[in-house]
């Protein structure tokens, strides 16, 4: 009997541990797999496969609109998606048009394009890809792109007139694109693209979102309003494995998995402590 009480006391003590110990444990379990990778397997989910298949099945030379709506704060989740999607698009010789609904999205897009378009594929600006840049206004910008993109983007991010950019020939509105991929971290982002662009025009779209957004976006995927979704860092890692080029998301997945296990353990311990505490307070 005393033994049970001793064990209960240990659980109660664990339940009242200072939160700073938990922060330290989480920091340690995240850092160790980053320094010593375990190499846990990554299996692509159906939603990630759908995104891959949709882009893979586009005819060569398709016009793809890539909208970058995230900032450095969600770079670990969104940036690997943007880089992998750009690799996939350039590998299949599609034309990529980049817009940004977030101000910070412009330099995130610049960073991804200089790494992939210039550094890996030697693509030509204005012929293979163009960075139209950021415009403030949220859903009003999406509506503007749907009705008349040239009215909104008379110049690109480099202040070059769009009339002077060869790949902008014949691009008047959203219907001139074959596919939309939105790399999104919140508002304005994926949901606005579904509501004001993809649904009214029927142009297929897909998205890469932060983990927090997944539950919000998933109903659009289930109902067929969106073609798949890349869900957070695991989604990015799955896409990296699908295109066969590993990147920062893959290397972060070991730490992610171990941290999740530890958090689950904390939740279990916290609950045991809570129920013991409740049982004792009822008793007395």
């Amino acid at each position: 009997m005393n033994n049970i009480k001793d064990i209960e006391n240990i659980f109660l003590k664990i339940g009242k541990i200072d939160r700073r110990w938990i922060f330290i444990i989480i920091a340690v379990v995240v850092i160790i797999p980053l320094l010593v990778p375990i190499g846990l397997p990554i299996r692509a989910t159906d939603t990630s496969k759908s995104v891959y298949d949709a882009l893979e099945n586009l005819p060569k030379g398709s016009n793809v609109l890539l909208s970058v709506e995230y900032s450095p704060s969600t770079k670990p989740e969104n940036h690997p998606m943007t880089i992998s999607v750009l690799r996939h698009l350039f590998r299949n010789d599609h034309k990529v048009y980049v817009t940004c609904l977030w101000p910070d999205g412009q330099f995130m897009a610049q960073d991804a394009l200089s790494q992939v378009a210039e550094g890996e594929f030697n693509k030509v600006y204005g012929q293979d890809y163009v960075l139209l840049g950021y415009r403030p206004g949220g859903e009003a910008v999406v509506k503007g792109i749907v009705s008349n993109i040239r009215k909104l983007f008379s110049v690109d991010a480099k202040q070059t007139k769009v009339d002077e950019i060869p790949m902008m020939d014949g691009i008047k509105n959203f219907k001139d694109f074959d596919f939309l991929f939105s790399a999104s971290a919140g508002y304005p982002g994926t949901i606005e693209w579904v509501q004001y662009a993809s649904d009214p025009t029927g142009i297929p779209m897909s998205s890469g979102v932060t983990s927090i957004q997944v539950n919000e976006v998933m109903p659009y995927v289930q109902s067929g309003q969106m073609v798949g979704v890349l869900a957070g860092m695991p989604g990015a890692a799955e896409y990296e494995s699908l295109i066969g080029q590993k990147g920062s998301a893959t290397s972060g997945m070991d730490a992610q998995s171990v941290a999740h296990l530890v958090i689950v353990l904390f939740i279990v311990l916290g609950n045991i402590s809570y129920f013991i505490d409740r049982k004792r307070s009822r008793k007395y």
């Binding site: 009242k16 541990i17 200072d18 939160r19 700073r20 110990w21 922060f23 989480i26 920091a27 995240v30 850092i31 980053l34 320094l35 989910t45 159906d46 939603t47 704060s73 969600t74 770079k75 670990p76 989740e77 101000p103 910070d104 950021y134 415009r135 403030p136 206004g137 859903e139 009003a140 509506k143 909104l152 008379s154 110049v155 202040q159 007139k161 769009v162 949901i191 606005e192 579904v194 509501q195 004001y196 649904d199 009214p200 932060t210 983990s211 927090i212 539950n215 659009y220 289930q222 109902s223 309003q225 869900a231 957070g232 860092m233 695991p234 972060g252 730490a255 992610q256 999740h260 958090i263």
Partner: protein
């Protein structure tokens, strides 16, 4: 390695560890990082908004280079403005590929009226601009929600539960079991929000099933939220590990030692002044809240 990259690494290390130091307790390093973040974000947003929208799309339509004629009233005003800033109003008009649309004077006036909220006696003018923005946003939202969230989602949940051509069970693709789950979850979830009748009998049972569906949804949201936060932590740690290398002159280690050292010394002085309270951080977490 370029000096700017090394400096950037040191600044990034300082700001990251400064923000993390809040996990110990509120302190000046955290405050510096927080205030810098807010200030830089606001400045960057303002500057980018001005140079990507106001200057090319508003002023560019009011004073386009295409129609430049110094004898007209519009361009006389423009030349006066140009006297103050040639970078915003370059000589000979703004060449951003637009035709002249004087109707854009209306948004310009509404924008100026919104700024009037800074002057208390004219603050009533701001309501006009705000009213326009609110009205436009409400109109846009109403259409978007009705089309995608109401009609689109009703279509998505209107599944055929008797479609036996589908497999009986599948984890993620359409199946009889999944269709049944969508049907029951949607109906019971909606019934939980039906408040015109007391939740008793069949309605009570159905709404209770609805609660379970909602709880599973909230659980999934919590799980995704945890995953998101861990991803961001991984991102920061990846950068800190990178900046701890010799290429960056061990920026992470030096900054960590500096911040921990100063906070430790401050804590030591504080304890000395308060007569050495309980040093064991295994004590109750509530005292730090």
């Amino acid at each position: 390695m370029e000096f700017s990259s090394i400096l950037g690494a040191w600044v990034a290390s300082f700001l990251t560890i400064g923000i993390f130091s809040y996990l110990y307790k509120d302190n000046p390093f955290y405050k510096i990082a927080e205030h810098l973040f807010v200030g830089v974000s606001a400045g960057y947003l303002l500057s980018l908004g001005f140079w990507t929208q106001l200057q090319p799309n508003l002023f560019g339509r009011l004073f386009p280079a295409k129609h430049y004629d110094p004898d007209t009233l519009t361009y006389s005003i423009y030349n006066i403005l140009s006297f103050f800033s040639t970078s915003i109003f370059p000589e000979g008009g703004i060449d951003k590929g637009h035709d002249q649309h004087l109707i854009y004077v209306i948004p310009l006036i509404l924008g100026i009226m919104m700024l009037m909220s800074l002057i208390p006696s004219f603050s009533w003018m701001a309501r006009w601009g705000i009213a326009y923005v609110v009205g436009m946003a409400a109109g846009l939202k109403a259409y978007g929600y009705l089309n995608s969230n109401v009609i689109g989602q009703i279509k998505g949940t209107a599944v055929n539960i008797f479609d036996f051509s589908l497999p009986i069970f599948s984890l993620s693709s359409p199946s009889v079991f999944n269709n049944l789950l969508i049907f029951i979850g949607t109906i019971c979830g909606l019934l939980y929000f039906y408040f015109s009748k007391e939740h008793k009998g069949m309605l009570g049972k159905a709404s209770k099933i609805g609660i379970y569906f909602l709880m599973i949804s909230f659980g999934a949201s919590f799980g995704f939220a945890v995953m998101g936060r861990i991803s961001l932590l991984i991102g920061r740690f990846t950068d800190l590990i990178l900046f701890s290398g010799s290429d960056y002159h061990y920026a992470t280690y030096w900054v960590l030692v500096l911040i921990v050292g100063i906070l430790g010394y401050a804590a030591f002085k504080e304890q000395k002044n308060e007569g050495f309270p309980e040093p064991n951080i295994l004590s109750s977490s509530n005292e730090e809240e």
